[in-house]
Subunit: 333 residues, 2 copies
């Protein structure tokens, strides 16, 4: 080691499907240093090596600046199995039951390392430094390629009996069951990023009178972002698709409000972003369905941290794991 | 007092819309003595006096047997506002924000008194002595006149930010919004006891070819129990109504499974009872919709305690409030 350390930090890492982002945070939640790396579709143990190498770089960098890393948090695009220390991440080939904790511990040594799902990390980031600051009962609904939620109740993360709570993409919202729901869940089939593109393609196929801009695309290449662009321009088919999504997002949020009675519902993920301004319409839809007192009391909001929510959440989990709260580091004073 | 007490007990009371039930429990959860009283549609403070009088009787009875009451739990048909100690119970006129805790404390003195909703008490009863014994993540879905749920996560009751969590009767399950849902919530409108009777009446009105047994009733007098009786006999209209309910109960349970990832879903309330044997059909419906791993891991069951669930739950909350767990009373040994 050979370095005198006189400052403390926690390390947060956000493992995405295609890249890694990492940051050193001081105990107040300020970023001291941040860095990204590509992950480039490596298989299981190769991806593990990249993660380990990145951890080592970040740790060495901290040491070179006289900073001691007290704990690390990792956000993964999947499920963290706490008892086993393994992870499942469908977009990283070979991470079915991958021993990520054991791998990372080779680098981090004895400091606490917490691994959790991106949806939980998003929520924790918002609770630390974003739009759920100070909440004890809050939900982060992540609408990206798929849909999932991070849920906090009584000030604790709701994990469920086998760490797969918050699978809100499977919410049943439309009584007529369709075989297509088996693969995705009803809500995700209809109102995720992939869902938006899929529903648009189906409507284009089914509507011979439509001659808008989306018809000029190769159907396989229509993305949710193009549908959103055309929605902005008033394209009737895109307007229909997004308005239906507003209905589904409102119903799903209503159900979470009636069941959980939270203070805050936050919409985030790749789609919010571009659709941030639809929050009042979504709340209006939710208010039609939800328990009336609970829905009057809840705030609807978008992520305050955007694509940084997961890395902040990973840092906050690290901080909590060593029982350091928002207190200033005495040695920094 | 004048009595030597050498045994300890907790007192549970279940306040229903029309009657009170109370029981003394030993610390192992055995009923020492139980009693009921009519409530007969009294207004707020009269109902409060009856509750107080009943508490005094039970306490005096305990003393006369040399039993000291360590704590009391009360189940109410509404919402308990913990911070204020007041209750809202729509079926007891005048209990809008009624100071039940203060009233009861006049009789109970300094022992802990816990007041909670019947849906939470039902769940707690099942966790103590019923079909959720040993669970840390469980849901009790009470289907009676209305629909509500008691929810336990991470071993704690989920209360939400203002004590109104578990309002699952408001779950949005059928995309086409109807004005009728505003009063009840979509799920409760369709699949509660009142919902079963209501939907049957609507179908009778709308189906001029129907000439089954329900037609012989005054429409205003058709109850859910009559619809269930005719369902048993194969009446096609009653079969249609109950089959639709199975669909709704399955969707609602699926949503709770996907969101909360519990070990156990328990159906109780007045309707289960008569419909206990439908649980496998309901689970089959739920399995179509829910997150597939979570639904394979969860057990669906009916209440193990039936109409006693709330009184056991009230007793268990009392026991927990004085930090006595399942340990035997040393003085009983």
């Amino acid at each position: 080691m050979g370095h005198e350390t006189n400052k403390h930090a926690v390390l947060g890492m956000d493992i995405g499907g295609t890249k890694l982002a990492s940051a050193l945070f001081d105990y107040q939640g300020n970023i001291i240093y941040r860095e990204t790396r590509g992950l480039r579709k490596r298989n299981g143990s190769e991806a593990g090596e990249i993660v380990k190498g990145f951890f080592k770089e970040m740790k060495d960098l901290a040491l070179s600046r006289g900073i001691s890393v007290s704990a690390a948090g990792i956000s993964i695009p999947g499920i963290s199995r706490f008892e086993k220390g393994t992870v499942w991440a469908p977009n990283i080939p070979g991470w079915d039951d991958y021993p990520l904790l054991e791998e990372v511990k080779v680098i981090t040594g004895d400091i606490p390392v917490i691994i959790d799902s991106d949806r939980v990390c998003h929520l924790m980031g918002e609770v630390w430094k974003g739009n759920a600051s100070g909440c004890s009962n809050a939900v982060f609904i992540a609408v990206g390629t798929g849909i999932g939620a991070g849920i906090m109740v009584n000030g604790e993360i709701l994990r469920g009996s086998s760490d797969i709570s918050g699978a809100v993409g499977w919410m049943a919202l439309d009584r007529s069951f369709r075989q297509e729901y088996i693969q995705y869940g009803c809500f995700e089939y209809q109102a995720s990023g992939e869902g938006i593109a899929r529903v648009a393609r189906i409507y284009i196929d089914g509507d011979k009178t439509y001659n808008g801009a989306l018809l000029k695309k190769d159907p396989g290449e229509i993305s949710s972002y193009e549908v959103i662009d055309e929605f902005r321009k008033g394209d009737p088919l895109a307007v229909r698709v997004i308005k239906e999504c507003i209905g589904y997002w409102g119903m799903a949020a209503a159900n979470l409000v009636s069941i959980l009675n939270p203070e805050k519902i936050i919409f985030g993920g790749g789609i919010f972003g571009p659709l941030t301004d639809l929050i009042p319409d979504i709340k209006k839809e939710a208010a039609k369905w939800a328990q009336p007192i609970a829905v009057r009391q809840v705030d609807f909001d978008v992520s305050g941290l955007g694509s940084d929510a997961a890395i902040f959440g990973a840092g906050y989990m690290a901080l909590k794991s060593c029982n350091i709260k928002h207190n200033p580091d005495p040695e920094d004073a």
